[in-house]
Symmetry: C2
Subunit: 329 residues, 2 copies
Amino acid sequence: MKLTKQNSIEKTNQVYDAIVIGGGAAGLSAGIYLQRYLLSSLIIDKGKARSVWMQELHNYLGLPPDTPGKTLLKQGKEHYLTLGGDLLNAYVEEVTDEGETFLVRVKVGRTNSIYVEFRAKYIIAASGIIDHLPALEKMQNVFDYAGYNLHVCLLCDGYEMQDKKVGVFASSESAAQVAFSLGWFTPYITVFTQGLFNVSYELRQKLNEHGYFLVETPVKQFLGENHQMSGVELEDGSVVNLEAGLISMGSRYHSDYLQSIDLEYLGGNLVTDKMGRTSHPRVFSLGDLKVGMNQVVVAAADGALSATQIWRDIRRQTGAKRNLDRLAA
Amino acid sequence: MKLTKQNSIEKTNQVYDAIVIGGGAAGLSAGIYLQRYLLSSLIIDKGKARSVWMQELHNYLGLPPDTPGKTLLKQGKEHYLTLGGDLLNAYVEEVTDEGETFLVRVKVGRTNSIYVEFRAKYIIAASGIIDHLPALEKMQNVFDYAGYNLHVCLLCDGYEMQDKKVGVFASSESAAQVAFSLGWFTPYITVFTQGLFNVSYELRQKLNEHGYFLVETPVKQFLGENHQMSGVELEDGSVVNLEAGLISMGSRYHSDYLQSIDLEYLGGNLVTDKMGRTSHPRVFSLGDLKVGMNQVVVAAADGALSATQIWRDIRRQTGAKRNLDRLAA
């Protein structure tokens, strides 16, 4: 059921089999599998899964290639709720390992917030990443185009940028290297450093050899209309026309709530085995938060794998049901 | 485009970037990703992907839980074709490693068959498994119920068997052990050996302790109507009433065409790295054919991973496009 500020307190005495942190593709798929394994679960979703931004999912098997990310998430939430799962819109502040269980401290409501504590045997961390976007004066201006023709994922949207004039918005020398992978799809590339880093001689040379442009003057604003970005205006007033953009500014891993638990990380990503288990046997990590490829369908598969492993763990501990009627006869 | 007996000969002079063997969830997802990476691909599908049998996919994120497996496959084929991929209904006889390329020998058409040869740089083996079903006198009778309430996948359909009277149709002592995993969902279990193997004292004992029934008389036929199996009639004329069935008779790996290539297997499954690469650097394996969990969403993710790895390989070899207009200026 959908939990709210009013009724969530009723669930604080129950120990869930698993609490899933994050209601994106990974978390919802995990929730669907958990419920179908007859395990009790709670998904805590702060909203704004990365796939919310995707105006069209072009590469998810089974859905028409113009399906918005939102539609996938909405369908997944409905599916999960019909299976009897609990879902709460809230922000997870901290997870504490109590030994047999985890204590999950949650802030519900942005205004007049209340704090609620839930318990679970297993934690599934599926809270993903938050992309860094160009920090322009009017951020609204970025959000006008993000997920339309201003992309954050080369693997997902390279195809959409084929032979187009594309601006790469990079925040570091290494982030700018994506230009050469984008170069598989189009040769019409301009790299914008936004004045955030010094460009090495080697990179300058390599861009030149490929015929790619380099702009170091900071960007003032994106230009365009109807969610279609058509270029940028620079701080010096000049305009660069573009047909698409690729933001390569890194991302923040949304896993602060796990800091009291000793887990193995690799560059911000949680290290897991092939079933999603982290270095803690009862903490799993999925989707963009774990080491691996950031794709919706991979996140959905991660959910299936981790839920199955948790079911196997619990099932092996509990054993099979006995036919008591027959045994009594 | 859809290839046919008539036009497939036109494609025999081209070297595809990848030929995908199998048009199930894994192969179609791989094809969609390959085409979106601007690679050329051909999917060769013999038909009858395992998911065709699924009357309802209950656990695939993004699709309503009553979506037939067929619908997913149909959507995937259309998606792939709109991206310009080639698709041929045919049977792959043999794949030969020629060094730089693979030669794929294909039989097209069940009657008046013709033989055609295609070439590709990479092979994606996504041809899955074929379940062994009870070999009754009238096999049609099995197909009446398979995929409805006669299941082959405990992970997928355990939920549908909750607290139901379920018959487990096993072909060996080890295959019969699935009864104790099924025992998570229901305690009302009858194991049918169909007279195919001798039951050990230990298994007999364990079944007894759980209150599960054991029937060693061979099954004559399934009973039921409108695709709902309601029990079995045994060879001795007696009837056992059931509400669902789980077939646990193993499966055949559909990978004979790879026999001339030296690949690492584990109990019939191809061993791969996390991107789906086998022990041959240009042969990938996905879905049910590789070591791992047989789930549609996992197969779809496998397709994304292998296609991405092949793209990375080819992209690194080819390098980025140069902006020749600017370089000439």
